[in-house]
């Protein structure tokens, strides 16, 4: 079948007009001065946690592997500063779980390990092994190990690579800045995936609120000498939340719908976040694994919002202090954006691989509407990108009707938050749906 490039996005259902608040989109990223200490939790990915391969007292250099796992769905962790392993201890993560972490005290030199050298790749298995060795996980927030995602099962007919540059969450601009500042690395990564997976259609999906990114990508591609770049095209997407949700993005870019309970490969697509591509490109060029991350620090409680490139494992408080500290008492601190981010109990937590923003809300912005009765306005239903009925899901979750929840396809919900955002009665729809999903999962285990 002939693959065509869409000139405008395909229609998708629902969505919400969330505020953009991309205050930091035009501000160049800054490097955080080397922190005195980093804390590297053993789980920074989806899958079983890693075990440390270093011991207390060891000297480590940047890019040196400090933890790994034998499990397939996993990603190794590397030292992000040079120094000494001062402790291996349990820390609390954003989700409240206890996890072993390797603590590295800096020697202030930021010395790079001699192990860091460009990988030699001659075949697809070698490419996937290199991706695994780079410690790359889905940097859009999911944290799914990249080499697992790129290993397409033999029975799936994948023909399209979609690069996610939608960045539909309010405040967050780290992908935007990455696209502007690391354009070359991005295309190095994209071309590698395109080449080794043998794909002939690459679509860079960019929301229309980032015209600078669209212009930069188009200019880069038009000036490119690579013949295969003819198969890479930029697609301007509608600036509508949740445009960057994988299933929504696939439909916008290809018109295909991922069947319920299936993966993008079932719709013939591989989706990668743009920052993931940039890190892959860096690794292929230099051999430097995933050791640093660009974070958007913003929100009504932050004094001078900016994008900061930080070593993974840096304490959040250190980064916030670097951004001038708080201008108002923070009431809520979010890892991620205000729509899907996780609210954390303290700013004394380390940055992990899949973090892309720290958003601090002041009292006023964190204010929550007191829930009142559902007025059946239907805004949750018309807004649901998965075409579900959130109000019914909520009622059935509260009533603990598991069979009804299943028949309403509760597991298809991706918790994007559109329903709760839209609800004029302030009902905690997503929260109820999460409980409902947990009930369905628990029943499945019985």
């Amino acid at each position: 079948m002939e693959l065509t490039f869409p000139t405008k996005p395909f229609k998708t259902h629902g969505g919400a007009a969330v505020p953009h608040r991309k205050n930091t989109a035009q501000v160049e990223s800054v490097m955080l001065p080397p922190p005195e200490q980093v804390v590297l939790p053993m789980q920074q990915h989806v899958g079983p946690p890693c075990t440390p391969t270093v011991k207390v007292g060891d000297t480590v250099l940047i890019g040196q592997k400090i933890a790994d796992s034998t499990a397939f769905v996993s990603a190794p962790i590397h030292a992000t500063i040079s120094g000494t392993v001062s402790a291996i201890k349990k820390v609390t993560l954003s989700g409240g779980q206890f996890m072993d972490a390797v603590v590295i005290d800096s020697d202030g030199k930021m010395e790079v390990s001699p192990d860091v050298k460009p990988p030699v790749i001659n075949s697809l298995p070698e490419f996937l092994e290199a991706v695994h060795a780079s410690g790359l996980v889905g940097l859009g927030g999911a944290g799914f190990p990249a080499h697992v995602k790129l290993k397409v099962p033999d029975d799936k007919n994948v023909d399209t690579l979609i690069i996610n540059v939608a960045e539909c969450e309010p405040y967050i601009t780290s992908d935007n800045r990455c696209a502007i500042e690391d354009t070359d690395e991005i295309f190095t990564g994209v071309r590698a995936v395109q080449h080794w997976l043998g794909l002939h259609r690459v679509i860079l999906g960019v929301e229309g609120n980032k015209p600078d990114v669209i212009a930069k990508f188009n200019k880069y591609l038009s000036e490119s000498q690579e013949a295969s770049d003819q198969e890479i095209k930029v697609l301007e997407l509608r600036s509508s939340y949740p445009q960057g949700a994988e299933k929504v993005l696939i439909q916008s870019c290809t018109g295909r719908r991922v069947p319920i309970g299936k993966l993008p490969a079932d719709a013939g697509c591989v989706v990668m976040n743009v920052t993931s591509c940039a890190h892959l490109g860096t690794f292929l060029k230099t051999g430097m694994p995933l050791v640093d991350k660009r974070l958007t620090i913003d929100g009504s409680a932050i004094k001078s919002p900016k994008n900061v490139v930080v070593p993974i494992g840096t304490n959040i408080r250190t980064i916030i202090d670097f951004c001038g500290g708080y201008k108002a008492t923070p009431k809520k601190i979010l890892m991620g954006g205000p729509m899907m981010g996780v609210s954390i109990v303290s700013d004394n937590l380390p940055v992990i691989k899949q973090n892309n923003a720290i958003v601090c809300l002041d009292e006023k912005e964190a204010h929550k509407l007191e829930p009142s009765a559902c007025i059946r306005c239907g805004r949750c239903v018309t807004g649901c990108p998965m075409n579900l009925m959130p109000t019914l899901l909520e009622k059935n979750a509260i009533a603990k009707r598991v069979d009804e929840l299943k028949s309403l396809d509760v597991m298809d919900c991706m918790e994007c938050g559109t329903c709760s955002f839209n609800c004029p009665a302030g009902r905690p729809l997503v929260q109820a749906i999460r409980l409902g999903k947990a009930m369905v999962r628990a029943e499945g285990k019985k």
Binding site: V18, P259, P338, M339, E365, M389, R434
Partner: protein, 318 residues
């Protein structure tokens, strides 16, 4: 950090829409029709509106107190019900009857079923029907427009005249019906004001235009098929008021687009059947209430298909 942080489930921001703001928008949308009713029927119209609103709000307040539930008069939905009820009454109605109607709407129809969002029929319309059956004569005594300036003169409504077999030239002119200079309930006479209110609600995204358009469209087509005067059918009686403000009530209309189309077409069909074949001149209230009762069935028959559950199509057409 001394202050404790709030930890909650995402999302952490809201659109800013609230029930109260939605109700306020509906009230604003009703203001033009209210002004016209005062011009056409005199200060007494204002008094009737005040009585029904007061009766509704008071009933809601007392009811919630007695039931030991949180007070909900702040959401302004009782004000909307009161105003809509007044719009469905003739100006000559006794204030006590109007107050009784408000009480029925709130206590019996709304609060006994659980309050806002839980009532299965439209409170104002059901109250009108109960008043109609309890006090048939006062409920169908119409006053000549602007006759409050001299002696109040009673007359028949345009649809009543039509039922009695009047010819078109015995009816008020279409222009008079469009601007509201005709006999009828307080808020139903001026199509212009109601349409303006409807446009406001659509622009503010409080209602979707689907229900009003399908309802009015169905009525127009049927009127044509039945050989009636389409313009008189559209501009007289409660069609505009019903289609724009009553059939679009959230609690008693289907939640999905497909359901709303079915619902609105049903309303249009029943309205025209009653107008043409029934012994009553007007059928808007009954048609909407009957369709209200069918909403749970329509809703379960038009449940949306979850993303990815539909049969697989490749490279779907745009």
């Amino acid at each position: 950090m001394e202050e404790k942080l709030v930890v909650s489930s995402s999302p952490h921001i809201r659109s800013g829409a609230t029930t109260r703001k939605i109700m306020l928008d509906v009230i604003l949308a009703l203001v033009p029709a209210a002004i016209v009713s005062v011009i056409v029927f005199g200060p007494r119209a204002l008094m009737i509106m005040a009585v029904t609103i007061l009766s509704c709000v008071l009933s809601e307040y007392i009811c919630r107190r007695v039931m030991k539930r949180e007070n909900t008069i702040g959401d302004l939905s009782a004000v909307v019900t009161g105003l809509l009820l007044a719009f469905n009454l003739p100006v000559s109605i006794h204030p006590l009857m109007a107050a009784f109607g408000g009480m029925i709407a709130i206590v019996v129809v709304k609060q006994m079923f659980g309050g806002i969002g839980q009532n299965f029929v439209n409170p104002a319309l059901t109250a009108r029907i109960i008043l109609m059956n309890s006090f048939p004569t006062p409920m169908t005594t119409w006053t000549q427009p602007r006759s409050y300036l001299g002696d109040a003169v009673t007359t028949a409504s345009p649809l009543g005249l039509l039922k009695q077999g009047a010819s078109a030239d015995q009816l008020p002119s279409l222009m008079n019906m469009f601007v509201g200079n005709t006999a009828g309930c307080l808020g139903e006479t001026c199509a212009l004001a109601l349409i303006l209110g409807g446009i406001y609600l659509v622009v503010r995204k409080v209602i979707s235009p689907v229900i009003p358009l399908c309802y009015i469209g169905t009525a127009a087509v049927l009127s044509l098929c039945m050989g009636r005067n389409v313009w008189i059918d559209l501009l007289s009686g409660g069609l505009m008021l019903g289609a724009i403000f009553m059939a679009t009530d959230y609690a008693t209309s289907p939640i999905t687009l497909k359901g709303q189309v079915i619902f609105a077409i049903g309303c249009g069909v029943i309205t025209m059947l009653i107008r043409n074949f029934g012994s009553l001149p007007e059928g808007v209230s009954y048609s909407i209430v009957v369709m209200n009762i069918l909403v749970p069935l329509i809703d379960s028959a038009t449940r949306p298909v979850a993303f990815g559950k539909e049969p697989v199509k490749d490279e779907a057409q745009r």
